[in-house]
């Protein structure tokens, strides 16, 4: 199964809509709830990052019997220092974003904690692409 969503820059009222739709789809497919939680939390963090920090982007979700692969791609401006951005508590979020309850600098590290596989491409002045993989373990 293949799902696609676009994410607009700065539109926090829609933050989580894609994650919510994917959650409903995964529930219908009887994916174990522990797997669903990991997927939607990681995806929600990525979705908020695209809205808060990028020029906009899109989400592609591919669901296979034993694996879920989610690619989140934006159109820029890229992350100058990925290692620093992965540090818990490091944030470049504006006060406006923090007043909404986000921007505590936990996003990328939380994506890492929740995904089984993670690959991030980014460069300052270019775009960012995050590829997250989740194993579907029915025994969990």
């Amino acid at each position: 199964m293949h799902l696609e969503f676009s994410v607009e820059r700065g539109d926090f009222t829609k933050a989580g809509e894609a994650s919510s739709q994917i959650k409903r789809t995964l529930k219908k497919l009887n994916i174990p709830s522990k797997v669903i939680k990991k997927v939607v939390v990681a995806l929600f963090e990525a979705e908020v990052n695209v809205i808060a920090h990028s020029y906009g982007g899109n989400i592609t979700c591919i669901i296979e019997p034993k694996y879920i692969k989610i690619t989140v791609t934006d159109t820029g401006p890229g992350i100058p220092d990925l290692k620093l951005a992965m540090t818990e508590g490091y944030s470049t979020a504006t006060q406006e974003i923090q007043e909404l309850g986000y921007g505590a600098g936990m996003g990328l590290s939380n994506i890492k904690k929740n995904s089984d596989d993670l690959d991030i491409y980014t460069e300052a002045g270019d775009h960012t692409e995050i590829i997250m993989g989740f194993k579907i373990n029915n025994e969990e």
């Binding site: 933050a15 919510s20 939380n110």
Partner: protein, 115 residues
Amino acid sequence: MMEIKKIIELLDAKVVGCQEIENTKVEYGFSSDLMSDVLTLREDNILLITGLSNIQSIRTAELSDIKAIVLVRNKKPNDAMIQMAKESNIALILCNYSMFKTSGLLFENGLSPIY
């Protein structure tokens, strides 16, 4: 574990959003206005205690499998929040107490902290 109806009684609160989960039980309480921290929790059966009265608190609860939110400091949810809470089967518990008093009362009566 604590039933939602006991929480409502202890906090002298009222419920909007999903009304049908008064017999549902929660095990842990987590007090935060920062949704970034809520998203780091792995446990199930969490009661979220927050003063953040916006659509983001409902969305965060939905995506974290949180079934009940106590909205402290007499914050009023708007129609969009109530609608989203209904659609996501989340109880919004409206309480006039501060976050400190709310947390203290629930802790004293047996609701567990996560850490």
